[in-house]
């Protein structure tokens, strides 16, 4: 309809702003450029975190010391956890794809507070830098695990304060991003886009925004309490001063469980978009999808105690948390059933993002069901401090968020870069990634069941076979990851030019050119139909 205009508007990648070179990126307030800043930083930290994981798996290939001693192993899993949780999976989908696509999908020119958006990225970089500083400053790297449990976190000799403060700053970045998205969705939806005409990815960002806004301050205060405890010896958590170490766990998980939903909800949103687009069919049960997103966010706020079943809580609290934990499974499975029903009788187009979505559902189901096992009180006593938990949360956090991240990457890559990627290599990478993932984490369920404890650099000879398989899985996974990333980078140069709508998607981002122009829309669209308008 507007062929002549397409030629005039420069894309956001070619646009010449006030600044040149690197400054046109790090001083840009364009939500699309900020999204790419996040993408490159997050991808770099992801590679660092994954490399730490690879080395830890290599340590575990045989009992006894292989390549590192116990103390180094402790420092490695601490850094791996902090980087992966706070710097990769929590900001992952919201900061990258939320930033890039949320304004476009609701028909806006930018987020509500573009400068605040850029500031959030600076906070993010500052937070990660503090965590990295803690590795080299003072009396050795932190070794408490990413959870900073009391009383260990104020007794250990490692450099705790920069790491804790870094996590605090990262929390602020997350709060500001959530606030920005909430205001954007409340104030800047295109005319005619009522709440129930909003696509599902923005809906998941909406629920996530509230969780970020309401839960993240709790961890902020808690981390400051650790700082006060270490420096002023106040006695919040130290039993010898009249404190209660369990209070720390309560406060910590009051944030960190909802944080799992900050990670997984946008992932579910991206998967919903991918499944409708490649099934060429309206999402099944749109309203139930919206309701289940809100229900997961709401109920997810009250289940934190399932991380503390073996910590010595009261029986009443144990039953309550177990019950509430089982309740979250209901809206989660509504989503899975609706995805399957969306595919039913659709005309499915087997493209790379769709394969990622299928892999996501597979690993997410295994992660979810193993979560139910852990949610039942008696089984939890046996499994809590074993590799079973490691397997479970990697299936959810890495399998869920990670698979959705790469799915979203392959889905929106043409829109973001204006190029198509090489499908053959993308699929090879995916298969290796998937096979490696299952080989790496699958045996951990078995090892955990057999009683192999987590967080140890050493193990008994009886666990040897499972660990060898698992370590080999890490090599397959890592090579799949390398192929995926190299393929995407290579396609920036060599890929064919992407059309505006390569997959036949119906949401607003597919109505504008690839890559999008600076202002997204020449004219703000008037919305008259639902988001997934297929015949």
């Amino acid at each position: 309809m507007s062929n002549q205009k397409d030629i005039v508007e420069p894309s956001y990648l070619e646009y010449k702003g006030k600044y040149k070179g690197i400054f046109s990126w790090i001083l840009s307030t364009d939500h699309k450029r900020i999204a790419l800043l996040y993408l490159f930083s997050i991808l770099s930290f992801f590679v660092i975190g994954a490399t730490l994981g690879l080395l830890m798996k290599f340590e575990l290939i045989a009992p006894g010391k292989t390549i590192m001693d116990a103390q180094t192993y402790n420092a490695f899993f601490t850094l791996h956890g902090i980087v992966m949780i706070f710097a990769v999976v929590i900001p992952g989908l919201p900061a990258v794809f939320g930033n890039f696509l949320l304004p476009i999908m609701i028909g806006a020119k930018d987020v509500a507070f573009p400068k605040l958006n850029l500031f959030s990225w600076y906070l993010y970089v500052a937070g990660v830098s503090l965590v990295i500083v803690s590795q080299f400053a003072g009396d050795g790297p932190p070794d408490t695990g990413w959870t900073f449990y009391a009383p260990y976190s104020f007794r250990t000799a490692g450099t705790m304060l920069p790491a804790v403060f870094g996590a605090f700053v990262l929390g602020f970045s997350s709060i500001l991003t959530g606030l920005n998205f909430l205001v954007t969705m409340h104030r800047m939806r295109a005319p005619g886009m009522t709440w129930l005409k909003m696509p599902l990815f923005p809906w998941t960002l909406y629920a996530t925004g509230w969780v970020q806004l309401l839960a993240t301050p709790v961890i902020g205060i808690t981390l400051l309490m650790i700082v006060a405890e270490r420096t002023l010896h106040i006695g919040f958590f130290d039993p010898s001063l009249g404190g209660d170490p369990l209070l720390y766990q309560h406060l910590f998980w009051t944030y960190s469980h909802p944080a799992v939903y900050i990670m997984i909800l946008p992932a579910m949103g991206a998967i919903s978009e991918i499944i409708t687009t490649f099934s060429h069919k309206t999402i099944f049960g749109y309203k139930f999808m919206v309701a289940s997103v809100l229900a997961i966010a709401f109920v997810g706020y009250f289940v934190w105690g399932h991380h503390m079943f073996t910590s010595g809580m009261s029986g009443t609290a144990l039953y309550t948390f177990s019950l509430l934990t089982f309740l979250v499974a209901v809206p989660s499975s509504i989503k899975v059933f609706n995805w399957i029903s969306t595919m039913h009788q659709g005309s499915i187009d087997l493209q790379t993002p769709f394969y990622w979505a299928m892999a996501f559902i597979f690993v997410f189901m295994i992660g979810g069901f193993s979560g139910l096992v852990l949610g039942s009180l008696a089984a939890n006593v046996h499994l809590h401090n074993t590799h079973y938990v490691v397997a479970h949360f990697h299936f959810i956090v890495f399998g869920g968020t990670g698979f959705a991240f790469f799915g979203a990457m392959h889905y929106w890559y043409p829109k973001i870069t204006g190029k198509m990627y090489d499908t053959k290599w993308a699929n090879i990478g995916l298969v290796l990634f998937f096979v490696g993932f299952i080989t790496l984490y699958g045996p951990m369920f078995y090892l955990g069941f057999k009683g192999m404890p987590r967080r140890y650099f050493d193990y008994d000879e009886v666990f040897h076979a499972g660990n060898i398989i698992s370590t080999m899985g890490s090599w397959i996974l890592y090579s799949g990851l390398a192929i995926i990333i190299i393929n995407l980078f290579a396609s920036l140069k060599g890929g064919a030019k992407a059309p505006a709508d390569p997959w036949g998607g119906k949401t607003l981002e597919w109505t504008i050119p690839s890559p999008p122009p600076v202002e997204n829309f020449d004219e703000i669209p008037l919305i008259t139909k639902g988001p997934y308008d297929y015949k």
């Binding site: 309401l214 369990l246 309560h250 009051t254 706020y301 009250f302 105690g305 010595g312 809580m313 009261s314 029986g315 009443t316 609290a317 309550t320 948390f321």
Partner: protein, 94 residues
């Protein structure tokens, strides 16, 4: 909109609220001297609620704003209360 007007509040009111806040702080400190068992926590929470609602209504102008903001604050307050309630299920029955 009418709620975007500037509300001139006499300094006297601010000072009154400030005095109230200081008194409440003193009460919550001194009340810990009496041993009331579980009630100590309840009283501390109650005083904190009064103090924060004073700050929210007067200093943060919630009193003069659109009702929707009060509604949002109350909703968040209820969520946090539920979190505290569930936490107490551990402490009171341990």
């Amino acid at each position: 909109m009418e709620n975007e007007k500037n509300h001139i509040i006499p300094y006297r009111n601010f000072l009154l609220v400030l005095t109230g806040l200081i008194c409440l702080t003193l009460i919550s400190v001194s009340v810990t001297q009496i041993s009331l068992g579980t009630l100590t926590v309840a009283i501390a929470l109650l005083i904190a609620v009064i103090k924060s609602s004073l700050v929210l209504r007067v200093f943060m102008h919630l009193k003069f704003e659109n009702k929707i903001f009060s509604f949002a604050v109350i909703a968040v307050f209820l969520i946090i209360s539920l979190v505290i309630f569930i936490t107490l299920l551990d402490y009171l029955y341990r």
